[in-house]
Subunit: 161 residues, 2 copies
Amino acid sequence: MTDLLANRDAWLMTNCSIARALDVVGNRSTLLLLREASLGTRRFDDFATRVGISEPVAAARLKQLVADGLLERRPYREPGKRTRDEYVLTDKGAQLVPVLVALRQWGDTWAADAAGPSVRIAHHDCGAEVHAVLRCAGGHDVEPDELDVLPGPGLLRADAE
Amino acid sequence: MTDLLANRDAWLMTNCSIARALDVVGNRSTLLLLREASLGTRRFDDFATRVGISEPVAAARLKQLVADGLLERRPYREPGKRTRDEYVLTDKGAQLVPVLVALRQWGDTWAADAAGPSVRIAHHDCGAEVHAVLRCAGGHDVEPDELDVLPGPGLLRADAE
DNA sequence: TATCTGACTTTGCTAAACCTAAGCCAGCCT
DNA sequence: AGGCTGGCTTAGGTTTAGCAAAGTCAGATA
């Protein structure tokens, strides 16, 4: 194995999972809509007002999120009201929650106002505060400076061709 | 305490740590530049080519990242070469690594190509794969659907005024 | 002294993201 | 039947992000 990681210029940008993830959720309003969905918001107008975006943008982003499979749109009826559609997180969407928690945590630390954050996220079972942490398959807690970058299967395969 | 969380429309968007974090890192190229910095890239041209952005954009984003305190710009000299500047992650920037790991992990699962991801992230000490996980202060592993949203100090304070 | 290279900056343009304001439609309520 | 409400869509305009191509500048290297 030659120094694969040294000439990553060629491939990093074409087959990077971070870039791919950002193709789906790489803009502000999309992530904020997912924040709302994860907090339990379901109705169109609530999404728009709580995220602070206009209706046309909300409509476009929600449509895209449904197309990408992060939200599911389904009819429901409140008693005495007409049928309408609600948007709920799919499994694919719910798996972005760690990203949201990690972002919130960074914002709490580096960008909250003097009064502190407006929301705490707690474990439903025990009430204790929840954090995103790095952990290795060996069970160790990992700090950001303890990471190694290794070639993955996609890289090795591409190299063989 | 009345149902504070029901009328979150008013405050969520003005004092939300996720929104604040996204004010700093809420666009694609910024996050990709941080990816590169976390992988060890330091030189201007390498940032631009590896992220796949033009030089003017790289210059603008790097400048902003330095202004925001996520990167530090400092002179260095390779032996036999002239002095130049390199960009390195500050502590504030390094604390975004869990966000990047969580994004990568989501991309690996939902958006990688058939060959698999091109990079693996391993724990330097033991070589095992690293993941972003949710954990509560009580030490439990937490799933995305086991979260409760509670009012935080910023919300309570604002409410009291 | 002249050239080369890395690290930008400047110029001029396109495209994406977002806004406000207004319009539309379905179905429940009176 | 007529109006109200939720959930959008349409129209028109601004702001931000991005590109390509060319220019600048400082300090090695020849």
